[in-house]
Symmetry: D2
Subunit: 160 residues, 4 copies
């Protein structure tokens, strides 16, 4: 675990915090249609739109479903939305947790949402119900990705 | 204004808080593609999934766009996601604010998202750039709506 | 029925065609998650992006779900996508059919998608399982709507 | 080119047809907001929900945008919707074409939509404005993907 943390620029305490928050976030999921709870946790980095947004914070998300299925927002996007509104524009790690095993991965739509705000090297940590996990970078989960620069738009400020 | 507040079960202070938070939330919008900032504010009601979620709170949202346009999350849905993760499951009012005039209304997708958690009588307050506003109930903005009960699902707990 | 058709600028034959196609389209739905089949049918108008797109055609749609619920495309949006690719840019009527009663209405997201290409007076006909129906105009189903002109964009060409 | 086609189970004629249709489909894009035209083409396989859906057909799509950006449907999902309504449930190849270089890839949301109906070995061919291309399999573009089996749902019938 220490080697994995080091490889991805995380401390063991940060890794543990991501794990605890991603699991805890599942309890707030609203998923009467799928019955499939997902929790997410983001570790914030220094780039921000707001002086009050500090680095090293954890922001939680959970899936919020809708009777019209496409109106559902996944856990990862709920977390990103909450974080952006709090002034965050960059992240050092993303974690997701579910009640299944092996661990579920972010859907393609969420990988795309993460792409907007994260460097390609950011680790995405996927926890199964027993906290066994798989880590992959964003670039591994969404290779050859399409982002702001593809449209000639600057996108968010980059983390220092 | 007092008559409007009374008609919708709001105090003037609650109305003012919704207005201030909806406008302030615009500053956190991430909208490099449209350049169209939207702020949202929700007034929480008593039904909740969590003992720690208190009533009468304001929860903010702002639009979070993506290079892949359909991956965008509107301000109203960001606010709902944040609120649901904080344990809220019912709301007494929804406010949105933009930089245009006349006031912009929630898109159809957001009206649907509000439908999941709000009674049909909930007021949706739309502020223009100068805080002129229009108020309509959810039922007026999304008549004959499709919701949890259409699928035979209980949906969220109802506000007391 | 003749009075209703006349009020909305449809012939009884066009109304019958919309009903038959909307019901028939349900058979092509891919909905293993909700089990809720929806069929849609559009009646094309004269504005088009293509010389080969003729008026008075019926274009079908059905819901196409996804294991990631928000990646689902509803019947109405599938029909619109198919029609736009065939060169159509304006429509005289929209019909939806389901297997329930009373008739289900388009979700808010689909009302918004219809808004992009239809005049506010366009009738939206909702058929229940026995072809009982309710008709409402787009403006009735999505009042105070947000459209291309709200962003200062011309939108599609208008029907002659 | 012949080697690439052979590696992915396509004939040179099929490859050429995918290229021509993906480029031609761009002309039907409705994209007043991004100005970024995308065309898509699918090569159908044998599994189907309908006796009339034949194999080896090409189905086209193009992006259909909306004033509410998240209501946009990308080219790939428009093509999938059209194909599913025509009775197709499996595909041998996906092609996308844009007006930029290097070639743009499907967004994460579209990769997820393709995942629902395609084997992981299906080639996704990305053409730039001059028909230079990159080919990657679905598994390469969306590794560790989340699909119907993750939810214990059978999903579509598999191609023979
Ligand atoms: Zn997702
Ligand atoms: Zn919206
Ligand atoms: Zn819909
Ligand atoms: Zn896409």
């Amino acid at each position: 675990l220490e080697a994995i943390c080091a490889a991805h620029g995380l401390t063991p305490a940060e890794f543990a915090a991501l794990r605890e928050h991603a699991h805890a976030a599942k309890a707030s999921a609203y998923c009467p249609y799928s019955g499939f709870r997902v929790g997410a946790a983001l570790l914030t980095a220094s780039a921000s739109a707001s002086a009050s947004a500090s680095t090293g914070e954890i922001v939680r998300g959970a899936n919020v479903e809708n009777a019209s299925y496409p109106v559902t927002t996944c856990a990862e996007r709920v977390a990103l939305g909450t974080a952006v509104v709090a002034g965050h524009r960059a992240f050092r790690a993303v974690a997701v947790a579910t009640d299944v095993s092996p661990p579920a991965s972010p859907c393609g739509m969420c990988r795309q949402s993460i792409r907007e705000f994260c460097d390609l090297t950011v680790p995405i940590i996927m926890f199964d119900k027993d906290s066994n996990f798989v880590v992959m970078t964003l670039d591994e989960l969404l290779p050859l990705s399409f982002g702001p620069e593809s449209l000639g738009v600057p996108g968010p400020p980059k983390a220092a």
